[in-house]
């Protein structure tokens, strides 16, 4: 079983990338489980034809007790058999979403739901607390992929996540490592070069450059992944290539985060 987690700045395209990655992996004949770890609960929507599935936390809230939950209550089958789970969480501004992620993982463990050829964790924008580092902990994702564009704030968030990976990987039994950087492009000049250089500087590599393409927007308006909506498109081919590279990837690194001055100088160097 391969467990991977995608982290990156909010709005950078983690869910789009995750859903298309899961779809492409499933086309390889793999049993794929995608777990959305964000109270926004929309990670798996495109795999579910636009449907917002009930979240684990919704069910806990409604029933008041998680002991009556079954796998069928929380796992939903989407495009090409991809199994989908949404952790969910509290309404914005109340409670503790991080604790919600921890509780979800405990429930999924108890239900024996974390079994697949590939488990894809799609995690909220930043590692804001211990709860959102849960997918990186022992027994879960051993490969983290950073999703970033060439924008400074996106690189800044990716660099922050490196700090969390670095800290966690220093624990004796931790097997969490950085698998690589995925550039989800915003059509900035020299963006591929910049993200490639960023990956190199943190001691990793860029596993895939995903160009910006209108077809992504069109697929989402049709409530589908690109792989399903436009299977013959160049963009779908890119996601399939990403799936292939991730499955073949053997390079796992403990990243070395940059300091802020270094990061800014790097971004500045590619701005002209």
């Amino acid at each position: 079983m391969k467990q991977i987690a995608l982290y990156g700045k909010g709005g950078i395209g983690k869910s789009t990338t995750s859903a298309n990655l899961s779809a492409a992996l499933s086309e390889q004949g793999l049993d794929v489980l995608q777990i959305g770890c964000d109270p926004k609960r929309d990670s798996t929507r495109m795999l579910m034809q636009g449907r917002l599935i009930p979240t684990v936390m919704d069910l806990v809230r409604e029933r008041g007790d998680d002991r009556s939950l079954t796998i069928d209550d929380v796992v939903y089958r989407g495009y090409h058999g991809v199994r989908c789970v949404e952790a969910g969480g509290p309404e914005p501004g109340v409670g503790c979403a991080g604790r919600g992620i921890i509780a979800t993982f405990q429930i999924l463990e108890r239900l024996g739901a974390l079994r697949a050829d590939v488990v894809v964790y799609d995690v909220l924008g930043d590692v804001v607390c211990g709860g959102f580092a849960m997918p990186m902990r022992e027994g879960y994702a051993e490969e983290v992929y950073l999703v970033t564009s060439g924008e400074l704030m996106s690189l800044y968030a990716a660099n922050n996540i490196c700090k969390a990976i670095s800290r966690l990987s220093s624990r004796a039994r931790s097997r969490c490592r950085l698998g690589g950087v995925i550039c989800n492009a915003k059509n900035l000049p020299r963006e591929e070069e910049l993200v490639g250089e960023f990956a190199k500087r943190i001691g990793s590599s860029m596993v895939q450059f995903i160009p910006r393409d209108q077809v992504v927007q069109q697929a989402e308006l049709n409530k589908k992944t690109v792989v399903e909506f436009a299977p013959s498109s160049g963009q779908a081919a890119v996601y399939r290539e990403l799936a292939r590279r991730i499955m073949e990837n053997r390079r796992l690194d403990v990243p070395v985060p940059l300091d802020i001055e270094e990061l800014e100088a790097l971004a500045y160097g590619y701005s002209e």
Binding site: V60, P90, E91, V94, G95, R99
Partner: protein, 339 residues
């Protein structure tokens, strides 16, 4: 003077205050365990003071569900249920868990209710222990007091209601104030009603239980314009100084009270002269310099020999209040010397 007893749970410190308000209910917004271990302690201590009924404490019984989704609604329900019992006051104490997840306890307490509701922030992880909770509760409750025309009288501030001999300490201060002809206005807070608390501003002097209550003394000085003495009387000399200081604060000539107390002290010492030249020793390492100072004062007065290997005599913490406290202590010393 902070003592080791001032560490510990912030919540316990606040409860030692709020459960002393008659016809009030205290709500602890947090997991049941936070209320349970405190309630057990309060129940035992109340029983030791012959209080038949344990203090009314309600837990919101926060579970993981409330931690994840927020617990303000269960607090609102608890306040509603408590208000239906028509108490004079509802005190809401937050806990580490409710503060860590950011429940807006203050906002819930501001929801209009038929009963006044006061929030005492008591999340221990934010810093401070028992003492911080004690101080915070007193400051939060002081909002029910207003500046009023002052009459010669005294408030007792910050009595440590969980300490041994709390009632004896109170009776001794009351006795000394009676020598000055001054009544106690409010025991803030020990067995009083909300209405009594609202009259806090009528006193002309606050007497703090000990210097650790200075933040409360300062707060009341600013808000109500009442000066303060920073400790109950300790030691023989200290008791005479206390009478002198209180008299001057209250514009009362203290000389007659001081003379009467001095005579009482001489008579008391006279009752223990048979201890003269006994060899005594103090606990190996008294944690407070002030306690050993009072111990040596007593030893000098009774011509006791303090030396290693002498009869071990206690120097309790807190040190007994006033001349009566010294008398009780000397009885204990005598038992040790004659054992």
């Amino acid at each position: 003077m902070a003592t080791p007893n001032d560490d510990g749970c912030t919540l316990t410190g606040a409860l030692s205050v709020t459960t002393e308000i008659l016809r009030s209910i205290t709500i602890i917004h947090g997991p049941a365990g936070c209320a349970h271990h405190n309630f057990s302690l309060l129940h035992a201590l109340h029983a030791s003071r012959d209080f038949a009924v344990p203090p009314p404490v309600i837990s919101t019984d926060m579970t993981e569900k409330e931690v994840i989704f927020g617990g303000e609604h269960i607090l609102e329900e608890a306040v509603f249920c408590a208000a239906e019992k028509r108490p004079d006051l509802i005190c809401v104490l937050s806990t580490c868990v409710s503060a860590a997840i950011g429940d807006d306890v203050e906002a819930v307490c501001r929801i209009p209710s038929q009963v006044p509701v006061v929030h005492v922030p008591t999340a221990g992880f934010l810093g401070g222990g028992f003492l911080a909770g004690h101080i915070q509760a007193l400051i939060s409750l002081s909002r029910f007091a207003r500046r009023r025309e002052q009459v010669p009288s005294v408030n007792l501030i910050g009595e440590k209601t969980l300490e041994y001999e709390v009632d004896e300490h109170y009776r001794e201060v009351l006795r000394l104030l009676t020598l000055l002809g001054v009544p106690v206005n409010v025991r803030f807070v020990c067995g009083v009603t909300l209405d009594e608390i609202s009259h806090l501003g009528e006193a002309s002097l606050n007497i703090l239980r000990d210097p650790s209550m200075q933040p409360v003394g300062e707060h009341l000085r600013r808000e109500l314009g009442i000066p303060y003495i920073d400790s109950f009387p300790l030691g023989l000399e200290g008791t005479l100084r206390f009478l002198d200081l209180a008299g001057r604060h209250l514009s009362i000539d203290p000389s007659a009270a001081v003379a009467a107390e001095e005579a009482l002290q001489k008579e008391m010492i006279g009752a223990f002269t048979h201890l003269r030249r006994k060899r005594i020793s103090f606990p190996a390492a008294p944690t407070d310099e002030y306690r050993s100072r009072f111990g040596y004062e007593l030893a000098d007065m009774l011509e006791l020999e303090v030396r290693e290997g002498g009869n071990p005599v206690p120097l309790p913490d807190p040190f007994p209040v006033g001349t009566s406290g010294i008398r009780r202590l000397l009885h204990r010393w005598r038992r040790r010397c004659h054992a």
